[in-house]
């Protein structure tokens, strides 16, 4: 009985989290532009999506920024974890404190602060400023996922490998990197997700004429969002669902065979 209520609670929360998403998916198949009346099943918004230069441009920007930002943040963040490891305790504390700032700071303050500093240095806002800002807010996620993997044992194993005659590069590749890899992977995935979903920081650091999916949607809020944007988001969501399910399913299978 207790189990029943527990599961019921999970189902209710899941419904709460996924109901709006389901609504958007249903609306993407609605023939009318109306948000409240479902007239007839239609795929016309999916067609329109592929013919809209505006949408395709925003799509390319969003994904290229997310990919580059996640990649660069993952490299810088992982390197930082390795370098910080050899520092004094007090220096580590200060650096980790600075690392937490973009994560705990309000997005609106981060966005405004970045925008002002770009303009103060005469850097015009555009693709590169968005990318730089996304790297800035992604690095903390990478460091927080990789750092717990770097511990005493990693150091000891690395030294053992050196004693056994491995070169530093070889020992790093064969001992340290595999140890860090799960953290690196989750840091990358988290960065990528955060970058795709970001609106506020992009809103302040983008220049005129460049759009990501988020800013494109925001610009249409007042005049009514075209359902082709629902269609686009549905496609992205379903692809993410499938990819993440496959990754998760493999993990589950591995855990089972390991156990």
């Amino acid at each position: 009985m207790k189990k029943f209520f527990g599961n019921l609670y999970i189902v209710i929360i899941m419904l709460f989290l996924y109901l709006p998403i389901l609504t958007l998916i249903v609306l993407s198949f609605n023939e009318a532009k109306s948000m409240s009346v479902f007239t007839r099943f239609s795929l016309k918004w999916y067609g329109e999506m592929f013919h809209s230069k505006l949408i395709l441009g925003a799509l390319v920007n969003t994904f290229s920024i997310a990919l580059l930002a996640a990649l660069i943040a993952t490299i810088i963040g992982t390197m930082a974890v390795i370098g910080i490891d050899g520092m004094k305790q007090s220096t580590q504390m200060v650096l980790m404190g600075c690392n937490n700032i973009p994560m705990l700071n309000a997005d609106i303050v981060t966005g405004i602060a970045l925008m002002l500093s770009f303009l103060m240095f005469g850097i015009s806002l555009g693709y590169c400023t968005i990318l730089f800002s996304h790297i800035t807010f992604c690095i903390p996620y990478v460091i927080l996922s990789v750092r717990p993997r770097m511990n005493k044992a990693t150091d000891t194993l690395f030294e053992a490998a050196l004693d056994l005659g491995a070169s530093r590069g070889y020992a790093f590749r064969k001992v340290v990197l595999p140890e860090l890899l799960p953290g690196i992977a989750s840091g990358f995935l988290l960065s990528f997700t955060m970058s795709i979903d970001d609106f506020i920081i992009t809103h302040f650091t983008r220049g005129a004429g460049i759009n990501t999916i988020s800013t494109l949607i925001y610009s249409e809020v007042k005049i009514g969002i075209r359902p082709s944007l629902y269609a686009l988001s549905t496609v992205i969501f379903l692809i993410a669902l499938v990819v993440l399910l496959v990754v998760n399913w493999n993990n589950i299978k591995n855990e089972r065979t390991a156990a």
Partner: protein
């Protein structure tokens, strides 16, 4: 000391260029008058009647939504620990996945659901219940905040709950603790880092949002985030916008100090 400190050089460059300099620039604008010269006017502007009203409303709505998130998330974390569902990282997957549907659209979807002729009223009517008229009220904004930020409350608490050794719980029962007593004396104290982390992860974005109030408040709910955003995009008064942002940073610093105090080891992170 096996690795060279040089590895962290690019990170330090990013800390300086992406965090330190931007905060100094916002401080520079915040303390500069529109016509030039140092001033405190942009900071004290927060105390003007309409800004105080917006700040008060923001604090109220952020507090309410944080509290609701906490009340919903804590039992959720406990239930997830006990159920099969909670294993194998699947929970984290389910809570992160909604982020792949654009944040603005997810919030927008509540318009469709809450509208007078919307989905929820349809269901209520079918059940013979009175209609709700939440759209464009502070209630709708709170709902949007809870919806958008709930995963950030569940994840850290869930991570803290999952780390609790079940032997501790058994030991408490063996020593004669009742259920309520066990929760109060064992589970709750061990969850504190997760709870504090969750509270800051929900409270700060809720306090400073302008998107949710724009979309679900219908222009009738004016939060401090809306005012700051308008100073930049509509009024082009960067000095005032920066000054108000600096005041908001006080709340952020308070939450960072709290987090440092309760979560020294960083256990409560949502990763």
């Amino acid at each position: 000391m096996t690795f060279s400190k040089k590895w962290s050089a690019p990170f330090i460059v990013f800390v300086i260029a992406g965090t330190v300099i931007p905060i100094l620039s916002i401080a520079y604008y915040g303390f500069t008058a529109r016509g030039g010269g140092i001033t405190l006017d942009n900071i004290t502007a927060m105390f003007s009647a309409n800004h105080m009203q917006a700040l008060g409303l923001s604090l109220l709505l952020a507090l309410v939504s944080t509290l609701v998130c906490l009340i919903v998330a804590f039992p959720m974390a406990i239930v997830l620990r006990d159920s099969k569902f909670g294993k194998q990282g699947f929970t984290i997957f389910v809570l992160i996945l909604p982020m792949w549907m654009n944040f603005l659209l997810r919030t927008m979807a509540w318009q469709v659901l809450l509208e007078r002729a919307g989905v929820i009223n349809g269901i209520l009517q079918a059940l013979g219940l009175p209609r709700q008229e939440m759209m464009n009220t502070p209630g709708a904004v709170v709902l949007g905040m809870v919806y958008d930020f709930l995963p950030f409350m569940i994840l850290p608490i869930y991570n803290a709950v999952m780390k609790i050794d079940s032997h501790l719980i058994e030991a408490a029962y063996d020593l004669g603790a009742g259920k309520a007593y066990m929760y109060r004396k064992v589970i709750l104290p061990l969850c504190v880092p997760g709870i504090v982390s969750g509270i800051t992860m929900v409270f700060i974005p809720a306090l400073t949002t302008f998107v949710i109030s724009n979309m679900l408040g219908g222009g009738k709910v004016n939060l401090i985030g809306n005012i700051i955003e308008q100073e930049f995009t509509v009024n082009s008064n960067w000095y005032l916008g920066s000054g108000l942002s600096l005041v908001m940073m006080v709340f952020i610093i308070i939450s960072m100090v709290l987090l440092e105090k309760f979560d020294k080891t960083g256990e409560g992170t949502f990763i």
